[in-house]
């Protein structure tokens, strides 16, 4: 499942116009190409393209996280139909086929690194075959960040604007259309091989550019020590006062993976679907009996932070956050995860801050 790391020192040089050649070659080979496209004014999303003309560059990050290519917002699991004899005809939705290849150009390192967390959950004892099939058929070509947003904090959670985690190739774009490429896996090597006319090994001594600075803002290990001891603390009430429990942060989060399974049907036939869901929604944990283990916004805000920075690391040895900053940008009441975490770190260090967020 995981791409194996090949010689990470292997750098390739791509000529100007490589992007157009890549798209043409891939489309010619029947590969689906997903690349950054402007879908709303000033908004860039990863979408299927037909020609390289549609691609936009120079964006900070895409609006929806990469996870949706592997874990869609809504997907059909199976379809069922009542038969006249009382039987039910059931058909499972076909899985993505590895033969229908997909290449994603222009994913950001944080979105790709998030897949490491998702892989752990979707392969925990049970292999989520839909997720796995899509992962297998997809090659991830990341574009290194040149201008991180002020809200980015990848370096605080072990990431980097030039991170290669889970990437197949990391591309450093130059302003003149050329690019430097770093192969990170067998799939990446195959991608480079397909582009051999426009991508050649870089001259000896070529160095990849230094990443732009993203100052680390907090220490997750320190934070965990406070989380370990403070399940009950007024802090959670204070921090959740302005939270409206809307779910925008979770839906845009590259590592959030909570989902719902629902049936949608009429008298005759229907579908069973898997949909994104959010632990901030009040009904998320509500039992049919009416009992709700997380009855207020405070317990739900606590769950979100505990899950990402304590429970997930305890079960999977990884923080369920890549520092992309979408939660900060999306929150319409100005809730800032970084501020909350730095507040916690201050407390962990024995300091005191005001009881505000």
């Amino acid at each position: 499942m995981r791409s194996t790391k090949v010689d990470e020192q292997t750098l390739y040089q791509a000529t100007a116009g490589w992007l157009k050649s890549a798209v043409d070659i891939l489309k010619g080979a029947g590969v689906e190409v997903i690349a950054p496209v402007e879908t709303d004014p000033g908004v860039v999303e990863l979408a299927a393209i037909n020609s390289s003309e549609e691609i936009v560059l120079g964006y900070a990050n895409v609006r929806l996280p990469l996870k949706r290519l592997f874990f869609p917002i809504t997907e059909v699991l199976l379809e069922f139909e009542n038969q006249p004899d009382g039987d039910i005809q059931m058909e499972s939705e076909p899985l993505a086929s590895p033969k229908s290849e997909v290449v994603v150009l222009g994913a950001r390192p944080c979105g790709v690194a998030a897949l490491e967390a998702l892989d752990k959950v979707f392969h925990w004892d049970y292999d989520d075959v839909r997720y796995s099939a899509r992962r297998e058929q997809t090659t991830l070509i990341s574009f290194a960040c040149t201008k991180p947003d002020p809200q980015c904090f990848c370096t605080s959670v072990g990431g980097s604007p030039h991170g290669t985690e889970q990437s197949d190739v990391l591309v450093y774009l130059a302003d003149d259309g050329q690019a430097l490429m770093q192969v990170c896996s067998d799939k990446g090597a195959r991608f480079i091989e397909q582009l051999k006319d426009v991508v050649k090994p870089a001259p000896a001594g070529t160095k990849s550019p230094a990443p732009p600075e993203v100052k680390a803002k907090f220490d997750p290990e320190k934070i965990k020590t406070w989380l370990d001891e403070n399940f009950e603390n007024d802090f959670w009430t204070d921090v959740s006062l302005k939270c409206l429990g809307c779910g925008a942060c979770s839906y845009l989060c590259p590592t959030c993976h909570c989902f719902d399974i629902v049936d949608e049907a009429n008298w005759q036939s229907g579908q069973r679907r898997r949909n994104w869901d959010c632990c901030s929604h009040p009904m998320f944990t509500k039992h049919a009996s009416g009992h709700n283990p997380r009855p207020d916004q405070a317990s739900r805000c606590r769950q979100r932070i505990m899950h990402k920075f304590k429970y997930f690391p305890e079960r999977f040895e990884q923080i369920a956050c890549v520092g992309c900053g979408r939660c900060v940008r999306a929150c319409c009441v100005g809730q800032n995860l970084v501020s909350i975490l730095t507040d916690i770190e201050t407390k962990a260090n024995g300091g005191n801050n005001s009881d505000a967020e």
Binding site: D40, V43, R63, L64, I73, T74, P150, T237, S240, L241, K242, L244, G245, C246, G247, A248, S250, Y251, L252, D260, V262, E264, R273, N275, W276, C278, H281, P282, M283, D296, Q297, A298, A330, C332, V333, G334, Q335, N336, V338, S339, S354, A356
Partner: protein, 287 residues
Amino acid sequence: MSANSTLTESLQRAASELLSDLNVAVVIGYGRDGESPFSHPEFVRKPEDVERLVFDDRCFGNLAVYLSKDAIRRMGKIGIVVKGCDLRAVNVLLREHVVKRENIVLIGVPCTGQGDPLPHKCSVCEQRNPQGCDIVVGDPVEQPQINAEQKYSDAANIDAKSIEERWEFWSGQLSKCIRCYACRNVCPLCYCKRCIIEKTIPQWIETSAHLRGNIAWNVARAFHLTGRCVGCGECERACPMDIPLSAINQKMAQLMDEWFDFHSGLSSDEKAPFTTFSLDDSDTGIL
């Protein structure tokens, strides 16, 4: 473009007095920390903390949304900073008996608009000087005359399209909906303890983010807000997918204007068309 310092000072003083006299348990206003590009809801419970309050041109949120939250109502009497649009929402909450007038202290602030460029809702605002507040901080500002054409221009632009174009437009926009329900949660008037989307017997509206489910959700929400929505535009601002939600609500408001000469939220004892019965009604179908 920066915080209006005299206004902020008056606001802080008013809040401090309210809290010191033990008149209110909490003042809900706006605050700003160094990093944030806009001012966000702030809850001040002690007089010494009023310095956290500001009022500037980045005070986007509609604070009335907190008046229906149990965690805040439990605190006691609430002082709330309201711009004109926020006050309209409070009026609807009052007429729908969600809040009791004696449990809130309204701190009105005159507002010439939030954000730069000014969003449409601010450029057509007719409530720049909030009326009926317990305290008003700051001097009144000029109130330009607004006509219906300006008010409903977003809806008119879409109405000008052919029906096929309109369908294409809305299908495209609503396909983007990811069903995060930020629009609902940020709306002061979406206070149902159990929203229609959460009802399962039967499941009135499908929860999956396919086009038919998205249309059903957004249309149902618009219908449930018809005659109630005050046009504060928070739904559109909260939507992470840049869907022009205000246009839908604006259209419903235009119809309420044309059919019933009704504008929601102008006073707390207005008679709303859908919740008022009169023997003079043109349609007496229910009799």
